[in-house]
Assembly symmetry: C2
Homo-oligomer: 391 residues x 2
């Protein structure tokens, strides 16, 4: 079998890791021909002749079969990926934002040009969720997928719970330890989780969901008051990315919302920077995949798996379809809403309030809210209100 020749965009920790593994293991049959980076003046642990700042050095080289795209910028990534595909090159990418926002275009292009476009590393690092949804759970009717898919946020929630500390002070510590970005917005507001959820929903249910229609509320408004409530009930708070069908089996809602979880369950025990995904299906019952969702080695592992699958011309079949779809958001669910007393929340969002409590400073309300009402509610965007799913 002829060697695969790779062009690498980006030489951060993951890019360098992949370069290292591939050069140390020639038997894999994959060689890195060229690496395109932004700045040539940084010192690199690889021969200088390998590098270029010109994307054309990869995209115009007919020798290169495969583009591995590992840059942060989603716009630049899209440009690179679409050009590569149009030149008949297969692509491996870890850019969840770029993928989630361009499903339809990218799938159409890769079919038209008959190339593979793989992105296991974009969702939960080394946890092989996409491959398993594509290959393993094809005939099993899925009911829901619930996942902890953002390690930074999970680390922060875990520490807030353990140390009884405010979001701000835990964030600072997490940033110092390298578990959170200097601008953590994408993670802690749930954008990153929503991108991953959108990719999961496509492979699990064959539906492409407009990203804005994923109900999303991050963790920045959560207070020690909320964690105290959770602790008293033996619960923990996790940011859960969830897609769920209705009784007829149709995809009903997609959400990234903090959720109370029994601490003695698989998701409840997914702590620190770990990721866990729970697949609920008719036949296999509950299936749980757990591992490191980010970081140099786990991400490299996922990228390498994709590269290696390409030696066998693997491509996603999208067997469940690629239909653009608006989630129905029918029915209602139980939520916990809390806010300080200097703040007034209109109770009418609730169909029915089952519990309310006030400690003189802060109030919580628990009751049933219709998904469709929640979707239009200011609660999702208001930083002074905590919202926690409570089923």
């Amino acid at each position: 079998m002829k060697n695969i020749k790779i062009g690498l965009f980006g030489f951060g920790v993951v890019g360098e890791g992949i370069y290292k593994v591939l050069s140390q293991k020639p038997d894999i049959g994959v060689e890195v021909n060229k690496v395109v980076i932004k700045h040539l003046d940084k010192e690199r642990n690889a021969p200088i002749t390998l590098f270029s700042t010109d994307p054309a050095a990869i995209l115009d080289d007919p020798e290169i079969d495969l583009v591995v795209e590992l840059i942060d910028d989603a716009h630049a990534a899209l440009e690179i990926v679409t050009t590569a595909i149009k030149r008949g090159k297969s692509v491996v990418s870890a850019n969840k934002k770029m993928i989630a926002e361009n499903h339809t275009t990218l799938i159409k292009l890769s079919k038209e040009y008959k190339v593979s476009f793989l992105y296991e590393a974009a969702v939960c690092g080394s946890v092989p969720i996409i491959r398993n949804l594509e290959e393993y759970f094809v005939n099993d009717k899925l009911k829901s997928i619930r996942g902890i898919v953002n390690g930074s946020t999970n680390y922060i929630l875990n520490k807030m719970d353990e140390n009884n500390e405010s979001y701000e002070s835990v964030l600072k510590e997490a940033q110092e330890k390298g578990f959170a970005e200097s601008d953590p917005t994408l993670d802690v507001e749930g954008y990153d989780a929503a991108h991953k959820l959108s990719i999961i929903a496509l492979h699990a249910f064959g539906k492409i969901i407009p990203y804005e229609l994923i109900l999303r509320k991050g963790v920045t408004s959560l207070q020690p008051f909320d964690f105290k409530y959770a602790k008293e009930k033996g619960l923990v708070i996790k940011l859960i990315a969830k897609c769920k069908t209705d009784e007829s089996g149709e995809l009903n809602s997609l959400s990234v919302i903090p959720e109370f979880i029994d601490k003695n369950t698989t998701l409840g025990r997914t702590n620190l920077e770990f990721n866990g995904v729970l697949i609920e299906s008719s036949l296999a019952d509950e299936q749980f995949l757990y591992g490191k969702g980010a970081g140099r080695f786990p991400t490299s592992s996922a990228v390498l798996s994709d590269i290696s699958a390409l030696r066998y011309h693997y491509q996603y079949e999208y067997k469940k379809g690629t239909l653009e779809y608006l989630p129905k958001n029918e029915g209602l669910a139980k939520f916990y809403v809390s806010f300080n007393n200097d703040y007034v929340v209109d109770n009418s969002i609730f169909d029915k309030i089952e519990e309310q409590y006030n400690d003189g400073k802060r109030t919580y309300l628990i009751g049933m809210i219709q998904w469709q009402k929640l979707q239009k509610s200011f609660i999702l965007s208001n930083p002074n209100i905590s919202l926690i799913s409570s089923n």
Copy 2:
């Protein structure tokens, strides 16, 4: 694409489940043409014309592309599977004993006749461990695989721990609830786990290990005394199937031995009838797969995944090899050994004893034992001695 035509051997809960799913979902493109069973007189939830007691009704039918073998008897299963392969039919099997004892023959035959031979359901039911080892962890250097792969035994250990009860009384309860067979030997003595471990080791390390060389000790000799020790240290006892490399990366030992596990770890929390497999690799770090390892639906789910993969002519590539190999069993490990005082155990098995304790009735010793010594030791087979790995 032309429909796949299946011949089914066995119509127990799994066989019937698969027949049902396939007849309710014609879009899968798979139909059951014939079912061979032992007794025609039992009532079946399917048209009587579907059934036969004659294997030739399937094996001699050139229309049938795929044989799904779901019978208990390993000898009869081998006869069916080898005949089917020789007639150019692909095979899906759930018979771990048959597979583990005939790796070399079956792989050779299926290569020679260019058919697929798949068996995801043979290892941990719905947990997609074989597929992930084959496809996903190909380039990642694996260090060890440790799994709870027998649900009956795990259920029994869990109940012994929870209720402080003897093996005998818990077994009785488990049998009444259908969690243990009337003859539980294969499960509780670790034979079943060793069969599964042998299949795992083949796909993880590319080695075929003579079944007798897997160090094996079941759970029937464990006493409340042993569970008391575990509890005091925050540990639980699990029957762990384990294959482990040495520092040079070569497969060193395969064992199915009870093990003390921190109860706050992924394996420590794999309770009741659940299965969990922990893959330790250089890149992905720790990857954990968890789900139901047996039972009607989980097993059906795995069989259906294999059937569905055959629509795309999937076959195992055995990319890590299929070498017959004798484990080296080098080095030593820490073990806990306990026995009643009317019994004498020769201490010389230990290289070094680190702890010993006697409560007037029973003794435990903890110390380092060489794998090679353990392999030849009567401790493995003696029902009066508890052996627990203690690393």
